[in-house]
Amino acid sequence: MLKRHLPGIAALACAAACPAYAQETSPLVDSAAIEVPNLEFAATVKDERDYLLYFFFHKPGVSFEQAMSDLTECYSEAESFELPWIPYFSLLDDAAITPKGVRPQPNSFGVMGAVFASLVEDRTPINVYEVQPKVRMCMGYKDYVRYGTTRAIWNQIAGDGMKRAIPVLAKIASGSPPSAASIEP
């Protein structure tokens, strides 16, 4: 069955198994140029309650490029179209289509590099109510560790939209382990 669905899932499977951002060309995003806000804060009860919405990830040993690929995959899938009413028609092989209507065509940065490149520069803040629960599941399956943050810090990370947030989140995920305690995956 997995083989039967291969054309559909190959793109995403490759994103997990293959180097997503080939290094023989210049990187799609220059990690050195990314500024990470100060992540330190003294948590209040309200902050802790808001960890359902405001959080970032870290994974020991993960590269910036892999974190970019994983975050791009999880965030690009997390905003849905309006839900169609059942019954409807769908190909399972539409797995290769993102909700933005893009069938990712592998480029020199890999499939997720292509998806990232296709994300529109849009400064609309991420809809945390819709997106964050899905991203949490997706990144949790990839064995990332979750850390809560404040709304103010989150807005520094992601207030300018998804395309600007992903590289910052990738730099955090692949950087030094956060000093705060991790929270439930």
Binding site: M1, L2, K3, H5, G8, I9, L12, A13, A16, A17, L52, L53, E77, A78, S80, F81, E82, L83, P84, W85, I86, P87, Y88, F89, S90, L91, L92, D94, A95, A96, I97, T98, P99, K100, G101, V102, R103, Q105, S118, V120, E121, D122, T124, Y129, Q132, P133, K134, R136, M137, C138, Y141, K142, D143, E184
Partner: protein
């Protein structure tokens, strides 16, 4: 829509390729059951934990070649109709941005050029994503119930679950699920399809390891497991003498969460489905593998 390249069109024209209409009819209590040789019959049991709203499994029947051809033809036609409009809109934004730039204004996001590869639409020429109705059980009950559905034969993927006639895929098993073949002229017995809220530790053994955490506000989050058919599972007397076989499950890897409110994965199934981080493992193809996570 904030992403300009995402064009969602509803195509209502008849498909160019003739195809059989998807059948997925719940058989109601007391109905006389005669298995038709050209129809498949899918049976599943469900258990409704205290406080849980009844759920409805959502299936995707793998479409045949003619259905796919009809879809692709309609998609091409819709693309050709949409392309000039998308190009015109894109050109207008580029032009407006040039004017804004001269006046020191902020540019608007420019959508990528629409191509057939970047075009997606909702096809209404056929259906293959279907759900059983929780209130149409063949053997109804408040805690346990059994559904029997007359369906188009084929391979069905358990796509996720819906809740209480919501007519939407509320929880997608996008990160791993199973499929099975529903053969004509007989009942395919799925065993139990089990679902419970993620927020509290489930009383259902299969769901206990994956429940007990809140992952977000507002929506009901559901985890799902299958308990394959085994001797002794309840079966109405009227079905006992009919041709029936346990569903032969196969693992289905990750697929895209295109149309779901939430995404999770089916609990690992011994001998069928395991996981290695976010990758689904087909244990029938790799029987030596084990599942480190549920």
């Amino acid at each position: 829509m904030k992403y300009g390249c995402a064009l969602l069109l509803l195509l209502t024209a008849a498909p160019l390729h003739a195809q059989e209409r998807q059948v997925f009819e719940d058989i109601r209590p007391g109905a006389t059951i005669t298995l038709k040789p050209d129809k498949a019959y899918i049976l599943f049991r469900s258990y409704i934990p205290a406080g849980m709203t009844p759920m409805e499994p959502v299936f995707l029947r793998e479409p045949g070649a003619s259905e796919i051809a009809g879809y692709e033809t309609a998609r091409r036609a819709a693309f050709e109709a949409e392309k000039p409009k998308a190009d015109r809109k894109r050109a207008e934004i580029i032009e407006a941005n040039a004017v804004a730039a001269r006046g020191g204004g902020k540019p608007k996001p420019v959508p990528p050029e629409l191509t057939i590869d970047t075009f997606v639409f909702a096809y209404r020429g056929a259906t293959n994503v279907v759900a059983a109705r929780y209130d149409h059980a063949y053997a109804p009950g408040k805690v346990e119930r059994l559904n029997l559905v007359e369906a188009t034969p084929g391979t069905y993927v358990l796509l996720g679950v819906n809740n209480e006639n919501a007519y939407e895929l509320r929880s997608c098993l996008c990160f791993g699920t199973v499929s099975f073949t529903a053969a004509p002229g007989m009942i395919t017995d799925m065993g139990y399809v089990l679902a419970d809220r993620m927020e509290q530790v489930s009383t259902i053994p299969e769901l206990r390891p994956v429940t007990g955490r809140k992952v977000g506000p507002v929506l009901l989050r559901t985890e799902v497991a299958i308990r394959p058919y085994a001797e002794g599972m309840p079966l109405p007397a009227a079905l006992a003498g009919l041709p029936r076989a346990a569903a032969d499950y196969r693992a289905v890897g990750k697929f895209h969460n295109k149309f779901a409110a939430f995404a999770t994965r089916l609990v690992a199934m011994p001998g069928v489905l395991a996981y290695d981080t976010d990758r689904a493992i087909d244990l029938k193809a790799e029987p030596s593998r084990t599942s480190p996570t549920p």
